[in-house]
Subunit: 243 residues, 6 copies
Amino acid sequence: MNTGTALVISAHSADFVWRCGGAIALHQQKGIDVTVVCLSYGERGESAKLWKQEGMTLDRVKTERRKEAESAAAALGVADIQFLDCGDYPLQLDRDEKFRLVDVIRKVQPGFILTHSKYDPYNTDHMYASELTLEARMIAQAWGHNPGEKVLGAPQVYLFEPHQTEQMAWKPDVFLDITPVWDRKWAAIQCMQGQEHLWHYYENVGENRGNHFRRNSGGQSGGRDCRYAEGFQSVFPRTVDEL
Amino acid sequence: MNTGTALVISAHSADFVWRCGGAIALHQQKGIDVTVVCLSYGERGESAKLWKQEGMTLDRVKTERRKEAESAAAALGVADIQFLDCGDYPLQLDRDEKFRLVDVIRKVQPGFILTHSKYDPYNTDHMYASELTLEARMIAQAWGHNPGEKVLGAPQVYLFEPHQTEQMAWKPDVFLDITPVWDRKWAAIQCMQGQEHLWHYYENVGENRGNHFRRNSGGQSGGRDCRYAEGFQSVFPRTVDEL
Amino acid sequence: MNTGTALVISAHSADFVWRCGGAIALHQQKGIDVTVVCLSYGERGESAKLWKQEGMTLDRVKTERRKEAESAAAALGVADIQFLDCGDYPLQLDRDEKFRLVDVIRKVQPGFILTHSKYDPYNTDHMYASELTLEARMIAQAWGHNPGEKVLGAPQVYLFEPHQTEQMAWKPDVFLDITPVWDRKWAAIQCMQGQEHLWHYYENVGENRGNHFRRNSGGQSGGRDCRYAEGFQSVFPRTVDEL
Amino acid sequence: MNTGTALVISAHSADFVWRCGGAIALHQQKGIDVTVVCLSYGERGESAKLWKQEGMTLDRVKTERRKEAESAAAALGVADIQFLDCGDYPLQLDRDEKFRLVDVIRKVQPGFILTHSKYDPYNTDHMYASELTLEARMIAQAWGHNPGEKVLGAPQVYLFEPHQTEQMAWKPDVFLDITPVWDRKWAAIQCMQGQEHLWHYYENVGENRGNHFRRNSGGQSGGRDCRYAEGFQSVFPRTVDEL
Amino acid sequence: MNTGTALVISAHSADFVWRCGGAIALHQQKGIDVTVVCLSYGERGESAKLWKQEGMTLDRVKTERRKEAESAAAALGVADIQFLDCGDYPLQLDRDEKFRLVDVIRKVQPGFILTHSKYDPYNTDHMYASELTLEARMIAQAWGHNPGEKVLGAPQVYLFEPHQTEQMAWKPDVFLDITPVWDRKWAAIQCMQGQEHLWHYYENVGENRGNHFRRNSGGQSGGRDCRYAEGFQSVFPRTVDEL
Amino acid sequence: MNTGTALVISAHSADFVWRCGGAIALHQQKGIDVTVVCLSYGERGESAKLWKQEGMTLDRVKTERRKEAESAAAALGVADIQFLDCGDYPLQLDRDEKFRLVDVIRKVQPGFILTHSKYDPYNTDHMYASELTLEARMIAQAWGHNPGEKVLGAPQVYLFEPHQTEQMAWKPDVFLDITPVWDRKWAAIQCMQGQEHLWHYYENVGENRGNHFRRNSGGQSGGRDCRYAEGFQSVFPRTVDEL
């Protein structure tokens, strides 16, 4: 449903780049304002390179991670990026923090939401963010939560691509052609100085998802030349006027 | 993918009415030509009322069932209905019969295909038709099958609603608003003189799927007034330019 | 196991009506005392109609919801209804509140328990209530919890029908004939003044589950005329002396 | 549904002993006539000990296996045992053989049917027998199959315990107390001279399923002393008048 | 990965005996130091026999349970057993308690970890321990958790055998031959004075898993004579140099 | 189990290259003789490029496909490659053809078998080959099939990587480091002149599976530098002497 806005809920501050950077840039280009919420900076668990530096502190890690995320967001043309700073490894929100997330959702009134896969034995923060998104979406729909505020409709939730998809029981049911904005995603990826070992990996993912797009969009003999794509798994059924 | 045509593969001659009559009428109204293939008449297994008549024969049952199906097809505005007469309970196609089905598919070049759910412990013909559809779709894509003919692209396959959905592990991921053509579906349903006990059942299904449409399309406070809907489960992922 | 009592654990104060009102009335009629526990009033999330009234407050919503639930309980002939008032959207019980629920379970000593489906992406309170029921059942079985009290045996837990069953991965394995008490369920449904849009929906559900009852109980040509039924999914295996 | 009869469909001639010998003996004792159909003798695939003898022939193997099965059937008090002799490894029935099986089903008019698990990567004959049972049940329900014969109702199908249950995705939902007839099952087991290495294994299974019965039937401190049980997985939902 | 150490995370103080006592003794014998962490004593929920004694107190139950566990650990040759005393029924760890578990993991640096199955409707403590293990493993891998400490690598997590495996959706993918240490496991089992009713049950399990070992290791006519085995389900994929 | 041999069962003549070319080359290098069985040439369904040539015939397609497969096999150092020529799109073996496959299995006496994933809605030949492998393995184990021949033991069956893994419900549980033989796999891939569009795709797969290998084999800070890997899903449990 095109409401002119979309929302990304990212457990750690880099997840949104690898997993849906193309979707963000593409929709921004189409005039949809995308807000990214980083629940944590991934400061404890996803900043190994920084922690290997002499005399590193938690605050400095957060500052560095924030800078990287802001640069990547700029490269993607993100409308707004917010850092809830709830801590990671483990990520856990108390009632007030959950309500802050609900505030964001209600303010954005997203046409759709992007977040993590339902299952991830490697990273329980990812599973937690996925559950939390459903919980916050439900609260945002409640007429009795902050009565008088505009309640949320029923936006689709798309689960973006985890690392090692098959281990996460993640099955994409939609492929998005991100060819027109690949250069922006690639620029955003290169902002992730601390995780250079993943750059080429996600380039490969983008190319191979492009192959999947072509396989499903038309067949052997023709079809549009999608070169890069991203996959998503829908949580809710679609409602349509035509198959 | 809108190719201007669609195809329904129905194990028995009445299945297409209950399960996707609305989709048929709706797409016909939109100018999509829908072809219905009935693999059998359901003459042995789904014609109890006829068989209870004195002196009934297999040929007479087939004739009656065909008439009913043709009337229903007319009510829905079906472009073409074909009866492959492969026998039922059990339904089983040999290699030549499969190739006849492939011929139909290639001739129609459907933008999408509708057929039965993957699992059905009550009715193994339904499961068989579902498997068969995937097999025939694959053969129709083969450049080496009747070389020179136009091969099939990669149309979506939608699994329509079985009876007792939860027992069939069927999970709809798309709801189609059939309100504009409900009167046509209702007229087609009433052609099914032999199964009057199911008329009201499928009226209820149509209404309750309308509720599901509304639940997913917008929420509590607004949204279009869909009164009747049909649900479908997609086999393949979608390819899109926008989420 | 007939212990003469049964227990319903309902996340919000209306759930027990739509989902197992028939089972409640039927067992009451058979002399089984049914206790209903409402963990919350659904005051924030399921009372949109009330919140749309000028000057509404949380307390007034709770009062209204409680009245409706008590009326419905009376219509069903419920032996006892208890409101734990733990809050909703999100529902979350601390250790003491869990122990209050355990107290109820131990006092009732139910022959079986009815609660929500295991999965529900639309409503995380429902999932939570389902998990909580298993946790509380386990605590109630512990000899070291309030030593001296009578511990719980091993009652079956039945998951009642959620809205949009297929999205919740809910599969009923038992259908209960509620024809004899349908008028009572219908009366209870009509107590739900705030959710009139659901009355007809659940009437349809009752009728169509009746069809499923007949399909599974005997067949085409005969069998009892069950007109309304409710479906349930068992969590634990049954133990029998005869298949 | 107690129709006074039951039917076991066994891929090979020994399966019925290990997997549901207790259920057979128990129901016979209760006055239910149980018919056992052996689709094959297991002559090629489950008769290693015989084939190791000098000069063994297929006919002699069949004769030996038949004797063993008949002895076991006698020990269990089986009303009737029939050998369809369709061949094994692989087991496959043509249309006529399927109709012979349907004839048996219609003649027996079983209140319930017992057969193999749905999945078995070790033994594709077992999977085949399970599928075949659903197919034959469906044909037996068809008014157009041998019109004039009494059609089948809708008997439950129970999947009996496979070897290595977890590999077969088999999940029992009912445990049957076979303590009163354990001596008969043990006697039948001992008729299986060619598979002595499995006797103790299935004694252990019987004992441990007894433990599962007790765990689910009542709890820690009391309950009936079931010492041996068998587990079954139901294919279809139950229809009841009381939970 | 052989790091010379292994870790068992047990919800209650007896679980490690029944479920992986053989694995513990076997690896100790091979020179791997095994540490067992008991998150609770099972003092409330798994000590029925003690609570039935006059004047029993929580402290005395804990003392008795600890003694039993220490005796069993000694019988198995465990290198170290630690009792975190976090309480049971329900088991729940706060942030500090989680970090104490992480401390143990980092100190041990296990080559592999053993814990409970992912699902258990009978015992939510078991599910909780399984989730907790993944969470603690993740925290132990974080460079920002107690910077300067040695972080954890990526050890395999094996889920050991629950009671009533099929109800827990537990599927073993590895069988370990524990024949050489069966006498040690049997001695440890006999330390469990409070649960004598389970001794023979787990003897049967050991024997039947031995049968499964033989079935999968070689076949009908030969192979090693494994008499007792234990089964495990791997959470993560293996990495190998040869299939 | 190292018997010195392995067997690949490939539906079409190119499958073995993309999906397990590395495993073949690696095991050959270790002295394991690998036999490849191509059930068909993929002559009808997977030879689009050839069929687009003027005047192409089925025989010429088969000849070309055979040449390609033989070249690839040579590049991988395959011990033996056999073409059963059973036809494709659809692939279907009659009893005699199945027995020819069994003959190969018995002659090879493989230590392990590699074949297709269990599910593939895009390509029913792949599903069929997977089922067939289990059936043929079972027949090869039967003492009564060609008595006197050496029966098969119980080799593991590994399902190799399909195209679009998530759609096939394929979950790898073992990653094999194929870095030492990547050049051989790359050479074999280049023999597939008709499917040049897939070369780079499978190069990406090899690289990204290398990442998965590293992620699971040791962790962030160290570990062997696996650059290319292949993933496999095991059908049967493993039997081990050490975890």
